[in-house]
Amino acid sequence: MENPLKKTCLHDLHVELGAKMSPFAGYDMPIQYGGIIEEHNAVREAVGVFDVSHMGEIFVSGPGAEAFVNHIFTNDVRGLSDGTILYGMMLYPDGGTVDDLLVYKEFAPDHYLLVVNASNIDKDYTWMLEQAEGFDVCIDNQSDAWGQIAVQGPKAEQAVVDVLGFPEAASLTFYTFCDCERDSRRVILSRTGYTGEDGFEIYACPELIRAWWKALMAAGVAPCGLGCRDTLRFEAGLPLYGDELTAEISPVMAGLGMFCKLDKPEFIGQEALATQKSGGVARKLVGIELSDKAVPRHGYPVELEDGTEVGEVTTGYRSISLDKSICFALVDSAYAALGTPLRVRIRKHTFPGVVVKKRFYQTRYKK
């Protein structure tokens, strides 16, 4: 028997809005409301709101918390200021990726919040528990207790300040957060996102999340589904676990080495990454821009002019903001240099393309 699909605290409101619902990471999630293009453009041009309550919140605390987080996380949390956030990965010893995640340094000594992908919550939590032996830490998976919305777009700050009543939002810079309180309940207001635009991710109890969602709808903020969440993150060059990062794809292969601090004393996967960095990797993640309107999709082969297969597409779209057919692809390292001509096989034909930077869209974060 498969487990029944879980519902986020906003599920009935999505259904009421007429959202197209679909299973994702064990949840029945909204894929789109009006249409992906319309929602995508709302985030690029104004503001949209996503239900991301399915994401996982795992709290780590205790005298050994800093050492433990630094042991399982590729980025370096030593001396991290309260209220700052780091992006990075958890790795297997061979350098393959367990998950990519955000680490929040909370406003208390030895307290961290780890925000992980919905599809990986159970795996990550188990992994953390397994690695915790010898560390004096408490690992608390509170994923089911927290709702989360992401308010994204150039007008996100205005919406969060005016509609949701958080004047604190204006003073946050990208990858920082603050603790707020509403109705004696904790609220985490974070200037982060997954769209390439300025924006906020707000964590709170289901009751508050529901009230805010309704307020944002009443104010005309566009509800946005997982469909445009993927097109937006893709254009901004952001990886999705399962496509660009997997147990077989290390951050070095994915071009995310800058989030892996090899100069730290140690972390799981460090040796493997050091070897990959010095000795090179067999395959690398690249961006490819096609000169045709045909759309590359996950799993399509990448070929040389003579038909030799040298890789495959991990994510591809007809880009909404750029009106080009573009994709991420994992290709043999010999063909990963910018400007390399490659072809993508789309059904019966191959289409010419060229290796370009993965950040297809110029991101607009509030630094």
Partner: protein
């Protein structure tokens, strides 16, 4: 509830056929466009290409997915709807107006294997 037009024939893979003498005018159903969402590209054959019943002759691309177009009948392509090259969204606007290809049929008997509107209505829901 998606729209189904009486008098057309349908394949269970959601293509429709309007018969005009020996020519089959082929498109996709309203149900198909609604399931796909915003259509961004129509991959079409060239005029004079041969198509075979049950085999793909092209594809629809929406933002999220691609879906192969399956030929309901066999024959030779005599026209493609070039308007769709620049305006694939015409299929979203009216799936029964926005035909995709016209095929000179080699075996009109193949039409017997297709569904009428009532039978297709049972599938498209």
């Amino acid at each position: 509830m998606s729209k189904i037009v009486d008098g057309l024939l349908y394949r269970e893979s959601h293509e429709w056929v309007r018969v005009d003498g020996n020519v089959a005018i082929i498109g996709v159903s309203d149900f198909a466009q609604s399931e796909m969402g915003d259509i961004t590209y129509v991959d079409m054959p060239d005029v004079d290409d041969e198509v075979s019943a049950g085999e793909d002759f092209g594809a629809l691309e929406s933002v999220k997915t691609s879906s192969e177009l399956i030929a309901p009948v066999s024959g030779v392509v005599v026209a493609v709807n070039e308007e769709l090259e620049d305006k694939p969204e015409l299929i979203n606007e009216d799936a029964y107006e926005a035909w995709i290809i016209k095929v000179e049929m080699s075996d009109k008997g193949e039409l017997d294997a297709l569904l009428n509107a009532a039978a297709y209505a049972e599938i498209a829901k």
